[in-house]
Structures are given as structure tokens and as C-alpha cells.
Homo-oligomer: 317 residues x 4
Amino acid sequence: LHGAAAAGARGTAALKKARLITAIKTPYLPNGKFDLESYDAMVENQITNGVEGLIVGGTTGEGQLMSWDEHVMLIAHTVNQFGRQIKVIGNTGSNSTREALHATEQGFAVGMDAALQINPYYGKTSMAGLREHFKAVIAEGPAIIYNVPSRTGQDIQDDVIMSIASHENFVGVKECTGNPRIDHYHSSGVVCWSGNDDEAHVGRHQHHAQGVISVTSNIIPGLFANLMQQRDDDMAASLHDLIAWLFCEPNPIPLNTALAMCGLVKPIFRLPYVPLSREQREHGAVLLRQVQEHIPGCKEVRVMEDDEFKLIYSSSY
Amino acid sequence: LHGAAAAGARGTAALKKARLITAIKTPYLPNGKFDLESYDAMVENQITNGVEGLIVGGTTGEGQLMSWDEHVMLIAHTVNQFGRQIKVIGNTGSNSTREALHATEQGFAVGMDAALQINPYYGKTSMAGLREHFKAVIAEGPAIIYNVPSRTGQDIQDDVIMSIASHENFVGVKECTGNPRIDHYHSSGVVCWSGNDDEAHVGRHQHHAQGVISVTSNIIPGLFANLMQQRDDDMAASLHDLIAWLFCEPNPIPLNTALAMCGLVKPIFRLPYVPLSREQREHGAVLLRQVQEHIPGCKEVRVMEDDEFKLIYSSSY
Amino acid sequence: LHGAAAAGARGTAALKKARLITAIKTPYLPNGKFDLESYDAMVENQITNGVEGLIVGGTTGEGQLMSWDEHVMLIAHTVNQFGRQIKVIGNTGSNSTREALHATEQGFAVGMDAALQINPYYGKTSMAGLREHFKAVIAEGPAIIYNVPSRTGQDIQDDVIMSIASHENFVGVKECTGNPRIDHYHSSGVVCWSGNDDEAHVGRHQHHAQGVISVTSNIIPGLFANLMQQRDDDMAASLHDLIAWLFCEPNPIPLNTALAMCGLVKPIFRLPYVPLSREQREHGAVLLRQVQEHIPGCKEVRVMEDDEFKLIYSSSY
Amino acid sequence: LHGAAAAGARGTAALKKARLITAIKTPYLPNGKFDLESYDAMVENQITNGVEGLIVGGTTGEGQLMSWDEHVMLIAHTVNQFGRQIKVIGNTGSNSTREALHATEQGFAVGMDAALQINPYYGKTSMAGLREHFKAVIAEGPAIIYNVPSRTGQDIQDDVIMSIASHENFVGVKECTGNPRIDHYHSSGVVCWSGNDDEAHVGRHQHHAQGVISVTSNIIPGLFANLMQQRDDDMAASLHDLIAWLFCEPNPIPLNTALAMCGLVKPIFRLPYVPLSREQREHGAVLLRQVQEHIPGCKEVRVMEDDEFKLIYSSSY
């Protein structure tokens, strides 16, 4: 077996068992390029603290702001540096089937374990078109399907999922529409990860979610790993306000701000993302300090000034 | 004045008077590339029948399925062939500010009159991020802002629009959230085009819409030009079923199918779009035949067979 | 006739009569992007002073340092702004047949009159490969073949030229191997432009060159137009030293330096080009001042300081 | 140490000891994309037979016919699959400094051990420009400089090499201008690999060449490894005709044809490369059969028919 096919055989079974997958943040240098040094340090902390997989260039990782060559490079870098320690899932989906096929093929060529495949957001298509799209991309290698209607403007209906669920490359669903649906999919044999950090603990222990694909675990990987391994209602409750704050603006705005305030990434934002307001930052600092000992690598949580953040608009040519 | 600035001075005033702008379809060759011959014939029919502007590579024109070099090439081609007869508005917006700036700059360099600027769909951002994004892109040249929450997953709030409405490059809004909002914007001096064909006649004559940015006018440009020039309730009512059919699946699926059935474009679909079902096509054929004399260049409306349509998945390498 | 075919019918006959074609310089802004304002001013001066055609993005115009989307954008911009006054020849050749076909197709789609087609430099190929390459690219539209072994490492042999000379899209040859060969091609009915400014006057009046594709005409278009229209040995002799200086380092290094010293472009160099040395600049200033009245738009020739030049290494991301 | 810097520390010393580096061929599928299955089989045979390093996407590997994302993907794939067994040198040089910097940075991000850096072919530059170019690219990580005036049209003069020879990232030179120059560089402490297979044995054993960067070793890796390890004049002489045939047309035309005739790659050519003529193939078959037992994986040498070869002109869109 070669390439995608081999990855399929290896990857599907193992990946289905993962409890905690992080949609990893992409940090930047002041020139707007990737800060691979900070990235590698973050990934090492993820591995050490029990994270089993990474979504590279997800919406959290701002794949939508990368050129495809940057995106595939980051997948390849991650595979090369960490592929023997953690599952690497490249967000190589697209609203253009052509682009999704190209990126997915390249992602598997550089060794990713699976692809995250989104339905065609913005442009949208018919359910017949959705089936055709997913049928095409899943043929490239193992795939997690990503359903997030609040971003895409379109729900992936159950029968679309079921039309590909028996494919050998089908891994499962990152489902953001709530735990009842995860329960429902589970009864049909479909593995689901919750895409909502605030529902993930309940989803995992009461609604048959396999685990979570998490944003919050960028910050507190160990706590989230524990929550996914065993039920801990008090711990879950104690994180409620932090999680709420992490979604007070569209993700990854609060996450990016938080990681900068924790000193884990440089305070660089690629537009259209901008940092949280001073007031929001002050509120977040209180919440982050409450869990500071669980934030790997964080020596201090600092409310930063507006002029410490740098916005990146464009490449110079 | 040079480039974008000159275009700004010329373009803003004239463009604000346009009643009918078509979100023009992009036709394809069997190899998946643009069919410029069919495109030029369609544009000539648009001009002859009273259309005053074109959105090139809009969601209808499948800009989301183009590479940027294809997209800018199509804008340049349109300017070069038809720029002295019709306003050319390039859909050079993007959910990536960097990409939007690059494409918009290129679009103005090749002579487009204005840009259509979308808010960052899918990735989304905060209202502060939206203001920053629009402030950046509108500096490049005249812009129509495009608000379509059903695609983007996020409404552009009024105060975001008002934060840029006084910019010299601000032209107006393509608004898809309904006529009351158009009325409201009008009271603040903001020009709006309806983005909903089914509401456009009422919007134009009863809610102060300047006109429409239309999908249907790809097929019946003359009728839509009449409806925008003067009120005709009977005519508007008679088109109700056709318009409803054109949106029975996400646009441009029905439009693409219709234009193929009318013999105006080759029956080629770039994935994730696929043709309407046979049953839907039969229904559409009845409706299209009722207005066939108003479809420029259409000699016959034919329900096609499934195997006459060709789906394009990807470039070969 | 459509697109390339129509361009072919129009363009071939007219273009074959051109005496003076300028390989136009591409000026840059401090951010490394094109300085279209300076470019447009230069082109206007070209037109006013008798230049009949432009090579856009030639080796002189640094097409080799452009991304293809920049390159096609510059062709489109030139067509849109000046296409009714001057012939626009896009240097859309490449050592990759795929890239040449793609760029050439795009160039014709945006209205260029002809393509400049180079043989595959660096990678090189067999004579059979050359014939296949040229057969493919010439099918896209009118083409001038460019033979410059000192750059490409490979001469285009006569029989390769003759294998395509009867194609309806064949315009002629930009020949850099000397006037005897131009004479020889002329006897076979092949139109040639000299690619060597120092030989062009003799070539035009004594060796049947149709004219010249010139670097020097960026600076003194009117004088070169005169030299191509009628024999003037004194004038030609008087320019000898200036032309020699313009090739004292690989073109366009001296040209770029000269135009900056004349105040016609900003002193920005994209690497690997760097300005001439201070000593070379001082020598050039003397020569340029001798013809200053013939340099359109030049108010002063100034020997600049090293630190006035800015080098562009890369885009920021 | 991180990324390029770490690679620098590790890679430079080890790489300088390599005797045999293969400029590996890139095989294609009938759709024009990379045939990674054939590629991996070839690389495994290289490793088994004593090859210590690979140039990925060199002129032999047709980097000049790749898009950069394909090129970096192939480097990443090679690192991921074989990086623990063989040195991976990406040909990330370019005649555009910007492109060279971008590709080189990406190559190191995905784990390559070193870059092959060419001087700016075709566009060329001054010696001052060369120094500036090499100074920029060598800062990215370990580099072998490639001097091949017959392709680039410009020799890299000794003092340009010496200007970067003391840089910590300087590895050595792939020198194609002959053994005397290799001897000369050796006396200055500069490591050289011969770039000419026909001179490599003499160069290695009589002129202080460190070894060879070879084309022929794609076919007979074990024999070339032996020749680089110890002097064997009879063996070297016996390969004379085969090596001469491998350069009877510009490389990699004969190599591509040979590997297809040996059944090791599919008979697919990306233009502008075309197969050798029938007569040339027949001659080659005789020579290849003489060493067939040393061609790993070759079960039969077959003179193929013209119509068995497929030429790839372009992507479909």
C-alpha cells in the first residue's frame, strides 16, 4: 500500500480512538510569516500534556488566511517534526472542490494522517453537490468531516454523512450543532468529536462523543485531556467562564489574544483578525490567571497595551 | 489622478445611478477553463438589453472556484472588451484581507470601475475586525459592500457600514437581508441594491432600492431592465415562479442549468456545483419557455439528459 | 473570429511593419510592487516619440522576477491604458511549456497583440523538443520568437524557425546572434528585429532587419525612432558610447540605474539586480547628459549616492 | 537551535563527506502529476545501492517544470519518507532572489538538509548582484552552489564563491566547468562535487573532487558508488559510451527515455522534453543491456514505440 492508501489503513483505526485533538493556533513573526519556533514549542507542550492529534491550519489555525503553499508547508513541517508522536490532521478542505482535491493530495503526499473536510461554505451547493464533493475528496485519504453551519451557512444533512460513512477513509465528524445530534450519529455507528468546547465534557460523558476537537486546549491541554479521559463535573464547571470568554468574539480572536498575553506567541494578527479590546483583555487576564499553572510555558499573564499588537495587512508584493 | 484614484472620481457618481447590474455567469469549456466566446456573447446581450453593470466573478459567477489569476484575467478581459459600454465591478473581496487587497489592487490596475467587497465569510471576525478590513480594502478604490448573512454566517451591522459610508470610495451596499433595511439605509443616504431578485421590484419602487444586482437578469435582462425602470406589478408577478425556481437550490446551480438548457453555455459544471435533477429541469423548462422570446440568443429550451452534463473536478496537474 | 484568432488576423500584418519596439522597463515602488504611475508616464513618452510597440515583462522589464499574476496584470494594464495607441507584446514565454501556454492564453484573453516566445532556457531541450514547444505556444496567437543564446545557453537553429515560419501566427524573430543571420532569415522571408542596440542601425539599413527591439529606446525613444526610419551614420556613431555603457553589466542593470539617475523611476531594484557602482554611474551621467534633451521627462541627470538605492529581496509573506 | 540553524549545524559537516549524490529523476503519472510510487521505489534503490544524498527537483528532476508548491511538496515527501536514511538537498534556487528565498525557507521548514543554489540564469546579473543574491539565500541554511554556465549563460567567478565560502552555511560547489577548477577550489579549502558524470571518476581520484552529483547514478547507483569509493579505471572506461549516450541530448531527455525503457518509470514527458528518437533509443538499449544487472529493479530493457510515450503540455485549467 502506498501514500494515501497506506495512511488510510494505518490511520483510520488509531485516529478514531483519539479523545483530545487540538485545533492548533498558528503563530506569526512580525513580518507576517509563520513563527515556527513558537509553533514547535506549543506543539511540544501539547504532546507532553496528553493531546493526541492536531488540526493544522483549521479555522482556529487560520488556514483561511494562508496561501496553499504555506498551508501544506505547515502540515509537512508538523509531520516531519512531530509525526511520530501525534496525529496530524490537515485542514485541506475548501469550498472549491478543485482546491480541496489539490491540497488534500499534497497533504497526504507529505505524510498527514487525515484531512479535515469542510462542506463548501459561502458558495454552498445542493445536497447532490455535497455528496459529489465529499465522494471526491474522501477518495484521497482518511477524512474527518466538519459540520459548522454557523460558519458555512449550510448544515450537512444526516443523509449526506451516511452516504459516505461506509467509505474506508471515513473517520468521523467534527460536529458543532450540539450533543443530541452526536448521540444520534453514534447510534448509527458514526464517530463524532464535539466542535464546541462548552459542550464537550457533557458530550463526551453523556452523549457518546468520542472526544473534542478543541480550541481551549491550546491553552490548557492537560486539563482538557483529563476532562476527556474521565468525568469531572467540578472541573468542567470551573472552566465555564474561561471558555465563554474564549468565544466572546469569533474564534480565534480571543485565543490569539490570550496566547499573546500568556507570552506564548508574539502579538501579531493577520487581518481580518484584530485583538480583543482592552476591557476584554482585562477580563480575560483574570480568568487566565486562575488556570495559569496549567498553561504550559506561561510565566506571566499580562494585559497588554493596544500598541503592542501588530496587524498584518498584506505581503509587500 | 491615477489608477484607483481616477477610477474613484469617475466611477462612484456614475455607478450610483445604475438600476440593473447583473452578477454574470462564468461559462466553461469542456477542459474546465473559461469559455470566453460564450461569455462575450452573453455580455453583448446584456449590454443590448439595458444592463448597466456587471459583477465579474461574483458568487453567481463562481469567483470562489477561480484561482486569483483566472479571476483578475476575467476582469481584465471584460474591461478590455466591454469597459467602454458597461460598468465592470470585480468581486475582488475575500475572507482574507491580504487576498482582498491583492486582488482589488490588481483589479483596479486592469481597469475595473469598482470592487464588490464581502465581509470575511467562514473565518468571520469581530465588528472591530470588520471595520479594519473594510477600511483597508476601500482605500484601494470604489467599493460596493456585499451583505449576505445566509452565505457568510455573519451580518454586517449598520454601524460598520456607517463607519465607511462617508469614504470617497464608498458606492453603496448590495443588501440581501430585505427591503426594510434598504429603506433604513436610504434614510441615512446609503445607496442600496437589492440582492434578492424576488424582492427587487418591490424594493426598487416601494423601498428606495436604487436597483438590483441580479441573477435572473442573466436570462431575461430586458424584462429586468424594464422592471427596474418603471413599476409593472403584473410583469413582476408573472416572473414569480421563474425566480423561485432559480433559487430552488443554492445559486448558481439553477442558473447554470437554465443557461445550458437554453443553449447559451456549454453544460459544464465546476464542482461542487452539479446540475438540477431531471425533475427540476423539466419544471424549469416549462417556466423558461414562457419567457423564451425575452431570452437573448435562445433558440430552444431543451430538457437535457444527465449524461450531457460534464463535471469538472480538478486540473490535471 | 474570437480572442487569439481575431488578434492573429489583426495583429500579424500590422506588427510586422513596426520599426521600433521597446523592451519597456518595469519601475517599482518602495514596497517592491509595480509603480504604475511612473510606468504610464514612461509609456506615454514612448508613444509620443514614435515607438510602435512594447515588450511587456521582457528580460529588460524583468518578467523573470514577476509572479505570473503580476505579469499578466501588467499586460492587461498596458492594453487597457494604451492598447489603442501602441502594439502590446507580452513576454509570456517560459522554459516550462505549461507555464508558457498558460501565460500566453491569459495574455491573449486580456488583449495583447502578440507574445514573445523564448526557447526553454536553463532546462533546455532537444531540437525535436524545441519544435514541439514552439508548435504548442504559437497555436495560442501571434508570436515573435526570441533567440538570445547568451542568456538561454542554446541557439534556436534555423530549421526550428523554418518549421514554424509558415504558421499564420508567426510574426518574426527577435534575433541577437548578429546581422548576417538576420540577412539570411530575410532571404527566407522571415522578418527579424535586431536584439542588439549596437548593431541595430547597421542591421536595419544594411542587413534587412525590419527594425529593433530596443533597450536604449527606454531612454531616447525619439532618436532611436529616427535611426530606424532613416539612415544616419553620424547619429548612430554618436550613440556608440552610451549604448556600450548600457551593456557594461547585464541588462537591465545599467538601464535601471540610468532611469533612476534621470529621475524617471524610483531607485528601487528587485534582486538579483543591484545598481551600477558609483564609478560606473559617474561615467554614465556624462553620457546621459550629452543626450539629455532627447530623454523625455528628464529634468536633471544626477549621480546618486549608494544609500539612495533600495534593494527588494522578498515579499514579507 | 531551530529549523534552518539546526539543520545547518547537523548538516554541513555530514554532507561534506558524501561521495555520491544523485540528481534524482521525477517520474510522472499519465495525468502529468508526480508518480510518487515510482519515485519512492527509485529512492529505495538509491539508498540500498550506496547513494548518500539526493538533489530533489534539480534540472535533472525538472524543478524548472514544477510549480513551487509541487516542488516543496516533493522535498517534504522525500524528507518524510527517507530523511532518516539519506541527505535531502532541495533545488530551491531560482533566477529570482525572491523566489529562491521563499522556496528555500519553505524547504528548510519541511526538513531538507541543504539547498542547491544556482546563480540567476537567463536574467543574469552583475558580480555584485551575484554576491548579494548568494549572501541572501545562504542565510537561510546550508547551501551547495551550482555552477553550470552552459545552462545559465554565466560563470560564477571564483571570487564570488570565495566571498561566501567562509559562511557557516556554505557546504561546497557543484562545479561543471571541469576538473582543473575543482583542483583549484580544493586548494582553497572549497569542497566540490563534479557535475559531469564523464569526468567524475578522474575528478574524484586525481583532482580532489569530493565526489559527484550524478545523473547516471539514477540508473546504475551501485556502480557509481563504487567508482566514487575507489579508483577503478577499467570500470570507468566501460561506462564511457553509456554516459556519452546519456548526454547525447540535453539532460534529462536521455535519462527519462532510459528509465522508461527499463520499466522504472512511466513513459510520460512534461514538455519541452520529448523522448529520444527511435534510432537513439535503439542505440541506448544496447548500452543499457550491457549493465542491466546493475540497474536496480530493471527486469527488461525494451526499445519502445513512439506512440507509447505520452507528452504533457499543460494542466487542464
